[in-house]
Every structure is written in C-alpha cells, then in structure tokens.
C-alpha cells in the first residue's frame, strides 16, 4: 500500500499532511485495494472514503469525477438519491469552474448527509460518504477554489463500478442491474444485460453454483437474494413468450476463428466473437453441442430442450457448429491454419475419468463404467439396463449426478462411497440432500481397493475404511487407510466418479503447447494464451473440472484476447482486467453505515414431488412465478460500489 499523504477509509483516518514524505506513516492495514499503490495511483476514492498519495492532488476535482460516475449508476427510483446526486454534481462542477460560493459547501454537506441518511438503496446511502469526508478533511481546498474564482483543469480518472455479488461472479454480471430491470418488469432489457456476460442464461439460471449468492450482503440480515432463480425467471419468460432476442447486426469481418469443443467455454467465446463480426466455426467431437452441459448434467437438473434453445440462439448470432468432428481424427489441428483460421481456441473440457488406483479397474469388467461415460450414455438416451445394486465412487457433483440418475433408471439400491467425510464432500449441499431424500445411501470414509468380478462381471468391491489426517494441498483433511479394516461391498455395477481430466491426445506436438503438471493446458491467466502462437485455451481443459460459470467467463475473456490478437497481432492485458485485479484485496461487503433492512425471507420455489421422480428424468426444481420473481427482485439492496483512481504521473 505504501506511504500515504492522507487516508480516510472505513472510518479510519491517517493524516500525514504537512509532514514531508519521509515522515509519512504507512497505511498497510486500511483494507484498501491492493492492486494500486502510490507508484501507480496518485489518489483513490470509493464508497467508503478516499486515499491521497500525492500531495498535489486536487481532492475536489476527484470528488467531482467520482460523483459524476455515481450519477450514472443512480437508478432514479428515489427522489432524494436522484435529484440530490444531480445537485451534488452540478454544485461541484460550479465550484471547479470558479463560480462557487461559500454556502455551496454547506449545501454539499447538507445534501450528502441527507442522501446518506435517506436514499432508497444501499448504493445511495453509501455513495456520498467520500464527499462528507472530503468536506471534513479538505474544506480548505474547497474554500481556496471558491476564493480564487478561477476554473481549474480537470484530470482523467480510471473508473470501476462493481458490487460484492458482481465481483464474486466469474463473469462479473451486472447483477443489481438486471434484478432492478426485473423489478421494473423490463424482462427483455434484463435478459439482454445478462447475455452481455452469459450466453447460456436459461442453463446458468438452472445449474449455476451461484457464488454471487454467497457474497450477497442481504445474507447478514435475512437471507440471500435468489439471484440464480431470478435469472432463470427472465430466461424462461422469454422462451415461454415465444420471443427471441433482438440482436444487432454485427460488422462483418472476414477473419475466421476455429474453436475446438462446443462446451460452455467454446460457446461463450464463439458468441462473443460472432457479435464482434468474426466467422466462427466450432468443431465438436460428439453428436450434440453443449459439452458438459449436454452430456455431464442429467436432464432432471437441465432439460435438453433448455440447453438446445440457448445454443440455437448462439447459432443464430452467426456461429457454425460442426458436430461429429474430432480434431486429431477427422481433421488435423495444423490443417486449420491452412484453412485460413487466424486463431484457435481449445476448449475441449475435461471428460476423461481419473483412475481410482483400485486393483482390477483396467480389466474391462462388465458393470464397471466410468462416471462421465455413464452420464453421457444417460443423456444421449442409450439403453442402460438397471441393476440391483450400484456403487458410485466419489464425492463430487458427477458422483451425485450418477447416483440420482441410477435411481431414475430403476436401479434398486444406490450407494455412494466417499473416502472422506460429509464435510469435505465437494458436491453441492442441496444436491446431496436431494439425493438422500430420493434414497441414495452414502458411505463415508470408505474407498474401494479391488474390483471383484466373476466371469468378467462385477460382483462387488473390496473396500477399506479411512481416517482423516492433516489437511492436504486442497485444504481438506487427507484420508488415510486404516490397516486391517478391509471389507467387501457387493454390487452389480461400479461407477467411479472421482474426478476428470482433459483428453489431450489430439494435440499435434506436445512441445508446441505447454502443459501443466495436472495434465491440463498451461495458459496466461488473464489473456488465455497458450505457448502456441495464435492458440488459446480455456474452460475445464485449463482449470481441470470446474463449474459452468467459470468456463463461460474464460470463454468471454478469450474472445476479447482473440479479437485483440487478430486486430493488433498481440494480446496485452486490458485495462478491464487490470482494474479487476486492482479491487482484489478490498472487502466490497464492508461499509461504515449499516442499513436497516426489514425482514423479508427469500421466496421459495416448489420441487417435483419425490414419488414423481422415478422412471423419468423430469426437471426437479421449478422456477419462480411472476409474483415470486417480483417479490424477490425487490429484496436486492443494490450494493453497487463506485471507485475512481487518479493515475500517478
């Protein structure tokens, strides 16, 4: 953070003015954004105060620049916020133009305090705080400007607007924005805002892990805002109304881009590039597009027609998808360059199951099926003969999806065995609970060591009990086998689902594209470039198995990089991602003033009744009806955080 001239943040003040640089105290523990310091920024202002690194900074000018940005975000729904902020901006502009009067300072203070006390949302209540601070600590600067009666030059500031939920979202969706549009029943506009960051809104409205909801500040009062279901509501509204999004005609560009893999990352990248006018072709090995969303998520969580519709809209935007085309089998990657593709994006996902390390797992026993293969068979409608007793090995979402699918297929006795305890289980809590409700039995602290078979058919597994030791690199406690605790679990089928990795066998030259230790593709994290010229990679084949929204976000990022690469011949870290890293280390949830929030619990949706879930793959979760969606949308506190930086000279 470095030495500061002045800082007032979150109610803490450091005042080194007039002391000379050598005597300036450090301000390490202020909880400020760590990305910028005195070497890059001369001053910073945000919702909870401001910092000055350079004595020469004109604080009033910074306040004005800040409030101008605040004004753009202010929604207009409460008059104290809307008119008040307008008057603040006008008054500050007047002072900077040399036309201020002394009583303007009182006016600013009166208004800023009034807005802080009585604006309709959290954004309105927090936004004036730096103004109040500036008047408190830099009143002389105001007076000087007013007395000089001369217009002063305005500086250019860097701007960032975010919110705790937006920052938690890998795609940084404008969550308060689209929720408010729902509240105003502007569903079309809401959805188009969502599509700016997420090209699969109906899909993500169903299966997103919703890190935004965990970051929601409403959690500290009565419960999170159901952001995911609100997104689903508008997406479903569009579909049920028979509408299609109105897409602007992009400028046409002749440049071609090849994308390997039609999963979420590939689709997101293709959609964004198509909107920029590129000719995009996706090569997909399978007979369906969607990647993991198509063959890795069972239909009771994500019905096929939902996914198909989102993909259809992407195709309408100008993306060509060639199914049943495997690079390395049907086409060579090198050949893509000859076909005049200017850039390649590898987004093949991670579909290859990891080995358990159990004896006999490579013996091709009948009834021994990898989890990914199993889900693929289920989703593609291949016939699966229900067995009596199945063991699903693993504790992630894939394991739970396999188990719940087995129940729906008519398997009688469905068991999950997991080598750690419930606490460490990486699958989503709600999914585990639903699985148990449906009758899945989970054995914890157990792992198979040997697959037992008779006449080439699985009859069970020899298992060993585990105890938990010290935390490993993943931060979870390491399972340690208990000697002599071996026992046999009978089963007609065993489905290992202990993790996946990308199948990179198609890569032409291993030396050309560097791989990471975990047998994933190594890329620059911000630009998504691989070590191969013009070759980019993203999604699960870079991160290992991750969640859908991460893949979408990496596809979005890559589209920006590829656009830069084709236009300029190189990729530089954009200002956006620089600002993005600048807010790392700042606690966006914190603010000096706590709001009072009347208790209104989140809306709940109904679920398909238990007895209707067997023998079919009907969707389990229902969406919000209009009434519930509007009620839920009202709950958003609108915690937008506006920040401005003055770059160092």
């Amino acid at each position: 953070m470095g030495k500061v001239v002045f800082s007032s943040w979150a109610g803490k003040t450091v005042d080194n003015r007039g002391l000379g640089v050598k005597q300036h105290a450090y301000a390490e523990d202020l909880g400020l954004p760590s990305g910028y310091d005195h070497t890059e920024a001369a001053a910073f202002m945000g919702w909870d105060g401001f910092v000055v690194w350079d004595e020469k900074v004109n604080v009033v000018d910074m306040v004005h620049a800040y409030i101008k940005e605040v004004q753009k975000v202010c929604c207009g729904e409460c008059m104290v916020g809307y008119i008040g902020i307008t008057v603040l901006a006008d008054t500050l502009a007047r002072i900077l133009d040399g036309k201020g009067r002394e009583k303007d300072i009182d006016l600013l203070q009166w208004l800023a305090n009034g807005i802080k006390e009585n604006a309709g949302c959290t954004f309105g209540q927090t936004a004036p705080i730096p103004i109040i601070d500036s008047i408190k600590y830099y009143r002389d600067e105001y007076l000087k400007l007013i007395k000089n009666k001369k217009a002063v030059p305005k500086s250019n500031y860097k701007v960032m607007v975010t919110a705790p939920c937006m920052e938690a979202c890998p795609a940084h969706l404008d969550i308060p924005g689209y929720i408010q549009l729902i509240r105003n029943q502007r569903y079309r506009e809401s959805l188009s805002l969502i599509r700016n960051g997420v090209c699969l809104p109906s899909v993500i409205g169903r299966v997103c892990t919703a890190p935004c909801e965990e970051a929601c500040r409403r959690t500290q009062y009565d419960g999170r805002v159901c952001i995911r279901l609100l997104k689903r509501y508008v997406a479903d509204w569009e579909m049920n109304s028979g509408l299609t999004p109105s897409s602007a005609k992009p400028r046409k560009s002749k440049e071609k881009v090849a994308i390997i893999g039609a999963g979420p990352a590939g689709l997101a990248c293709s959609y964004n590039l198509a909107l920029k006018g590129y000719q995009v072709t996706i090569f997909e090995e399978l007979s369906v597009a969607g990647g993991m969303a198509a063959v890795g998520i069972p239909q009771y969580r994500l019905p096929t027609k939902i996914l198909e519709r989102d993909i259809e809209l992407i195709q309408k935007a100008g993306v060509e998808i060639r199914l049943n085309t495997k690079i390395g089998r049907d086409l060579e990657m090198e050949g893509l360059w000859k076909d005049d593709y200017k850039a390649i994006f590898i987004a093949i996902g991670a579909h290859k199951g990891r080995k358990m390390g159990a004896e006999g797992e490579d013996n091709d026993y009948e009834g021994f099926v990898d989890g990914m293969k199993f889900l693929q068979d289920v989703n593609l409608g291949r016939v699966i003969e229900p067995k009596n007793r199945v063991l699903v090995v693993g504790g992630g979402d894939v394991a739970v999806d396999c188990a719940r699918s087995c129940l729906r297929l008519g398997f009688r006795d469905v068991n999950i065995v997991y080598r750690r305890s419930r606490v460490e289980m990486p699958a989503r809590k709600a999914e585990i609970e639903e699985a148990e409700k449906e009758g899945v039995k989970i054995s914890y602290l157990v792992t198979p060591t040997k697959i037992l078979a008779r006449d080439g058919k699985v009859i069970g597994a020899e298992c060993i009990k585990m105890a938990l030791g010290e935390p490993d690199s993943s931060g979870r406690r390491r399972p340690i086998p208990i000697k002599g605790s071996e026992f046999v679990m009978k089963a007609d089928m065993i489905i290992p689902a202990i993790g996946q990795q990308p199948d990179l066998s198609f890569l032409p030259d291993r030396n050309q594209i560097k791989l990471a230790k975990q047998m994933t593709i190594e890329t620059d994290t911000t630009t998504c470039q691989t070590s191969g010229e013009g070759i980019f990679a993203g999604g699960d084949c870079v991160t290992g198995p991750a969640v859908l929204i991460d893949a979408l976000a990496s596809g979005n990022r890559t589209a920006q990089s590829i656009d830069q690469y084709i236009r300029k011949g190189k990729v530089t870290q954009g200002e956006d991602s620089k600002l993005e890293s600048a807010v790392k280390g700042i606690n966006l949830s914190e603010q000096r003033e706590q709001e009072i929030v009347p208790r209104e619990m989140p809306q709940i949706t109904s679920q398909l009744s238990l007895k209707k879930r067997f023998g079919n793959f009907r969707e389990v979760e229902n969406g919000f009806n209009t009434e519930a969606a509007l009620e839920e949308a009202k709950r958003c506190l609108r915690c937008y955080r506006v920040m401005v930086w003055l770059p160092a000279k």
Partner: protein, 238 residues
C-alpha cells in the same frame, strides 16, 4: 400481532402492516405523495420519512415501505425525520416548482422556496401512473426504465401506445399534471410532454353523447365477456 412504539404510544398491529398503515390506524398523520392505498408502495418521494430505532440504532426509513417489526420504536415527528422530509420536499419543489400539489405539500412540511436549482420537469418519477395502469387497470402502457451501470438511459417513464386503452387513470392519479387528458369532439387525447395518443370516443345510440374511448370499452367487454352491442348505449340511457 406485532407490538411497537409510535410517537411514545405502545401499539399492537397485524404482522405485515407498514409503519404508514399502523400510524394511520392511531390517527398519526404522515405526509405522502407517491403513496396510494390501493397500490404497491414504492418509497420514491421520501416525504413519509420517519425515524426508526431498531436494536438501539436510529435510522431513517420511508413509512410506506417498511413493515413493522416487533419492538421497534418509530418517531414520526423527531427532528431527524422532519429534516429529512424538508430535504425531500425541497428537492421535489426544485424539480417541479409549478405543481400545486407539491407546493402545498412542501408548505405543509415547512419549505417555501427551494434554495437549489435543477432542470425543471413536470414528472417526478413517482410511478403512480405506472402502478395504476399495471395494478388497477391491468395494462402495462406505462413502464419505468431505470438508469444503471452501462445502461445509457435516463430514468424515465415510457409510454407503450399499443397497450394504452385511453382510460385516463394515469392522468387522474398524476400528482403534478405531467400526464393530461382532454375530450373534445368525439376524440380523447391522453398526453404527456413527449408522447400522446388519440382515442375515438363511443357515441351513445340513445342520447348521442360521446361517453368513453372505444378501445377501453372493447377491453372491458372482452374482460367481462359482454355481448358485442353492450356498450352501444351509455350507462345513463341504459
């Protein structure tokens, strides 16, 4: 039932009651502008601001939107509340200095003349029209569009002519006269500063008077499943 204190009175009201409704029940008057008892509260004008003390923390809130909670203390005439109301009234008056309704409300609250200047407009975005059209009439001919991050719009109320049936309810509830309605020579015009729509009025077969817009009568006829000739005669002659 929920127990709370309003202006030193201990009162018991039904759960879900707003502060405004609770105060009204005990004859405590709080000024309002964007509130209407038959519409969803919005809290836009901020004139009904009251001071609320929750767990020892004093805060301001709008009485129309805040549902009562057990044990809270509400002060409707504290210095803090009155100051906030004056600020809200002053801003509204600056925006809309010619509206009789706002002038009289501001005067009541203690603001005679605003000390600030803003771009004057007749619409204060209170959304009474939007809510009436949606919740009472059952149409959505008026819609609020909010400003927001990267949205590049100014907050405003949009008019969707295809949805409008010319009933004029919006003009009736508009507190500032931003929406107006005139009937003349068999035509009704509903209009605001930047939009208008003409409606052909229906002539009564008996008395020959024009009595309501045809589109509105058609809408009602459809809703109530009435015979095609039902509105040929006006209610006075029926």
């Amino acid at each position: 039932m929920v127990e709370l204190t309003i202006d030193n009175q201990r009162v018991r009201v039904k759960k879900g009651t707003t502060i405004l409704e609770a105060a009204d029940k005990f004859n405590i008057t709080i000024p309002t502008l964007c509130h209407h008892e038959n519409l969803t509260p919005l809290g836009s004008c901020r004139l009904c601001t009251v001071e609320v003390i929750v767990n020892g923390i004093s805060k301001l809130t709008t009485a129309c939107t805040f549902p009562v909670e057990q044990g809270i203390e509400v002060r409707t005439t504290s210095q803090k509340a009155l100051e906030a109301r004056r600020l809200a009234a002053e801003l509204l008056l600056a925006k809309c200095p010619t509206s009789a309704k706002i002038k009289s409300l501001a005067q009541e609250i203690g603001v005679a003349k605003p000390r600030i200047k803003v771009r004057e407009e007749d619409c204060i975005l209170c959304e009474l029209c939007v809510r009436t059209c949606r919740e009472i009439v059952g149409r959505q001919a008026l819609k609020f569009i909010n400003q927001g991050l990267n949205q590049r719009v100014e907050p405003r109320i949009d008019f969707l002519p295809d949805m409008c049936i010319g009933c004029g309810s919006c003009a009736y509830v508009c507190p500032t006269g931003a929406i107006k309605m005139e009937d003349k020579d068999g035509t009704r015009v509903v209009y605001a500063r930047n939009w208008e729509k003409d409606f052909k009025l229906k002539k009564c077969k008996v008395c020959g008077n024009y009595w309501a817009p045809e589109e509105q009568l058609e809408y009602i006829r459809g809703k109530l499943n009435l015979p095609p000739d039902f509105f040929d005669v006006c209610p006075n002659c029926r």
